[in-house]
């Protein structure tokens, strides 16, 4: 009997611990973000959304970086595990990008008065969403598994390499067409920040990271199991 990677009890326990840690961190982060940290001098309570928004952005970029690494490794070594990583990271990346956009939009309404402005950050996130949603669609549109993995890997690499160029072009575009604003909320002075706010931010970052890796390990394992199921089913047909 030969099996692909087996999820032994030790691995499952590690995942459980990670999940537990993530839960504790998230609970702590919520407490700090909503109760302990004081409201911002300029933005008031609404600034608390930043404790969601900034970690979400980090997680999205981290995810896309993992897609890049997974894609590159897959094209180089052709090992299934790299492709599984890329796929899982892409799915989570899309999830957190959607969340980032929603958070940014909700923060924008009381701050700028509108649900959407074509400001650099939101626009950038929207473009990334389009690229990686396209990645997921490409994967599901190709029937042959190996071809789908290869095609997606190419897109994973090209998409990531395009990000700095998209960054530059969108930021230049926005600084040329700067809408007049008396208050520039996203340039609030960070020097006079209350230490409790920085702690809240740090805890939020940690919580999101732990949560992310927990979800990633789950999603990765699901992909791995599906692979093995396919292989076993194929064997039986033969």
């Amino acid at each position: 009997m030969r099996h692909l990677a087996q999820s032994s009890n030790a691995v499952k326990k590690r995942k459980g611990i990670l999940g537990g840690l993530a839960l504790v961190a998230v609970a702590t982060a919520l407490c700090w973000s909503l109760l302990v940290a004081p409201p911002d001098a300029y933005q008031g309570e609404v600034q608390r959304i930043m404790y969601l928004h900034l970690p979400s952005i980090l997680i999205a970029y981290l995810s896309y970086f993992l897609v890049f690494i997974g894609s590159g490794m897959y094209l180089w070594k052709r090992e299934k595990k790299d492709d599984l990583l890329a796929h899982a990271a892409a799915e989570l990346g899309v999830l957190f990008t959607v969340l980032t956009i929603i958070e940014g939009s909700i923060w924008g309404k009381p701050t700028w008065g509108v649900w959407w402005t074509w400001d650099a950050r939101l626009t950038l996130m929207a473009i990334l969403l389009l690229i990686y949603a396209g990645y997921l669609m490409l994967r599901s549109a190709i029937d042959d598994e190996q071809r789908a993995a290869s095609a997606a890997a190419i897109l994973g690499i090209i998409g990531f390499l395009d990000i700095p160029l998209i960054h530059m072009s969108v930021y230049w575009w926005r600084t040329l067409h700067q809408p007049p604003s008396i208050l520039r909320p996203d340039k609030a002075p960070w020097e006079n920040v209350h230490p409790a706010m920085l702690t809240a931010l740090a805890i939020s970052f940690a919580a999101f990271l732990l949560l992310y890796f927990y979800l990633l390990s789950l999603r990765y394992r699901v992909g791995e199991m599906r692979q093995e199921i396919k292989a076993l089913r194929l064997e039986r047909e033969v």
């Binding site: 009997m1 099996h3 919520l30 909503l34 008031g44 309570e45 609404v46 608390r48 959304i49 969601l52 979400s56 999830l95 959607v98 969340l99 929603i102 958070e103 909700i106 923060w107 309404k109 009381p110 949560l211 979800l215 789950l218 999603r219 394992r221 699901v222 199991m225 599906r226 093995e228 199921i229 076993l232 089913r233 064997e235 039986r236």
Partner: protein, 51 residues
């Protein structure tokens, strides 16, 4: 909608979506695990038959 309204909207949606995704993932996980165990045990049974 007051400031706390926006904060609860944001936190509500974000954590709501994350919890839902986690549930869906857990369900897929369990389904895959069950199917995998089923296939493995029937494969073991099949190979025993051959002996």
């Amino acid at each position: 909608m007051g400031p706390w309204g926006y904060v609860s909207l944001a936190y509500g949606i974000v954590w709501g979506v994350i919890v839902v995704y986690w549930f869906v993932l857990k369900r897929r996980y369990r389904a895959a695990e069950t199917e995998l165990n089923r296939l493995r045990s029937s494969e073991a049974a099949g190979s025993h038959d051959k002996d």
